[in-house]
Symmetry: C2
Subunit: 257 residues, 2 copies
């Protein structure tokens, strides 16, 4: 399996066709997995926003008060309002805002980005990353003439462990997970609880070569990944009623709408 960054992409702007830009820079092959950072997907889709669009509610004022002063400017209540409007639920309001996005991803600040946005204050996550992955996949079939998988990625922190790692927000052309249940181990015993979050691992692998900052590039290609002859499904986001950690956070944080 080979993993490489796609170099030479221009700064993506509203209305750009991400598939076309990628097809121009990368020599894609049948079966490649193309990891595209959600930042460029959002930029092309016009998900830039300004703080002035989010007049703060009372709740936003309260949340902004409680946010740890990490980047020196996150205490703006309009930023808290943007998080509220982008979220299905706020799990914690302090010391950081952990939110459930409308498409099921749980992350700090609903994944709203305050760096990486020329000419705007904020960059919101794509509304439906899997829909975006499907569009890019269709576009790559048209422009590059190949059938690939597409993973729309982000980097995200996580409980228990420090640092961020690449995660999948949306995907097309591959199941989200590879299901080994019912298959046997080396000794012939049945594997009972093994479901592999393949799209997250692909996003993590891609993130190793794309980098952050001024030398960073938003697209990575994974070549010759073999999903193999296994069952798969698209259940990546833990359902609300089967998430003990979410229950615990709700109880602990006493969040009121």
């Amino acid at each position: 399996m080979e993993v490489f960054a796609v170099e030479g992409l221009p700064e993506v702007r509203v209305g750009d066709d991400v598939a076309e830009l990628v097809a121009e820079q990368a020599d894609l092959r049948e079966g490649d997995v193309v990891c595209v950072a959600s930042t460029v997907v959002s930029k092309a889709a016009g998900r830039q926003a300004n703080l002035s669009e989010f007049p703060a509610s009372e709740r936003a004022e309260r949340i902004a008060d409680g946010i740890a002063d990490i980047a020196g400017e996150t205490k703006d209540p309009r930023f808290a309002q943007a998080i509220i409007e982008e979220s299905e639920e706020i799990l914690t309001e302090a010391p950081f805002v952990l939110a459930v996005t409308r498409f099921g991803h749980i992350t700090v600040n609903a994944g709203i980005d305050r760096s990486n946005v020329p000419d705007a204050d904020l960059l919101l996550l794509p509304e439906d990353p899997t829909d975006c992955a499907e569009c890019i996949r269709a576009g790559l079939r048209e422009y590059a003439g190949v059938d690939v998988a597409v993973v729309v990625t982000d980097t995200s922190g996580r409980p228990f462990r420090l640092g961020q790692r690449g995660v999948a927000l949306g995907w097309a052309g591959t199941p989200a997970v590879r299901d080994w249940r019912g298959e046997s181990d080396r000794e012939g015993r049945e594997l009972s609880a093994t479901v592999q979050a393949v799209v997250d691992e692909l996003a993590a692998a891609g993130n190793l070569v794309t980098g952050e900052g001024d030398g960073g590039t938003p697209v990575a290609v994974i070549r010759a990944f073999d999903f193999g002859d296994h069952a798969g499904n698209d259940e990546l986001y833990r359902p609300n009623d089967k998430d003990v950690v979410r229950d615990a956070l709700r109880e602990w944080s006493h969040v009121r709408d």
Copy 2:
């Protein structure tokens, strides 16, 4: 960057030298990252155990009662006792046992494996995975004559998302994280909160090629990964006093020692 599985490894037994076995099967190069599944590290270190070694305490009886009946046989109170003895703290007792291992990793059942263990009931995680990674690294320098990085890996579930993904338990020859803070983005703005959990991403990338089950192999090599000229450190496990999710789980679960 290239990622490939090391094929042809024999079943590892107590006392085996993992580095020697890997050096015999893989043509390693300077700078490779060698991902070794904790299962083989544990097997070589004699971390096999039997349920009879863990006479159940009252607490273990209580825990076993509460465990969801996932694999049909996890309700054995001696299994709960093994988890207790392998853990620094139990965060939840039900519906599953989430434990903090002595080296800081937080995972279900303290990572104790009930498949994949010939001639024993259980396989415990290595006592000090980073120490194991250092030993294997030194061994590979001796047997293969190259300076590599070693990551001792496991697969583990996680809050918010379904499925398991590869994670690092211990590492040597590379910092755990790559620290982009203080560097600039494309627009010259300072990156404020970007610390990349590189060893976890390496473990995830390796896990894409090793597989589970009877066709699985426990060692992957990542070639030509470039850490680059960045700051790094070894803080991967979130400290106890800076882990909101751990606090919430403690409060929610009302665990008594």
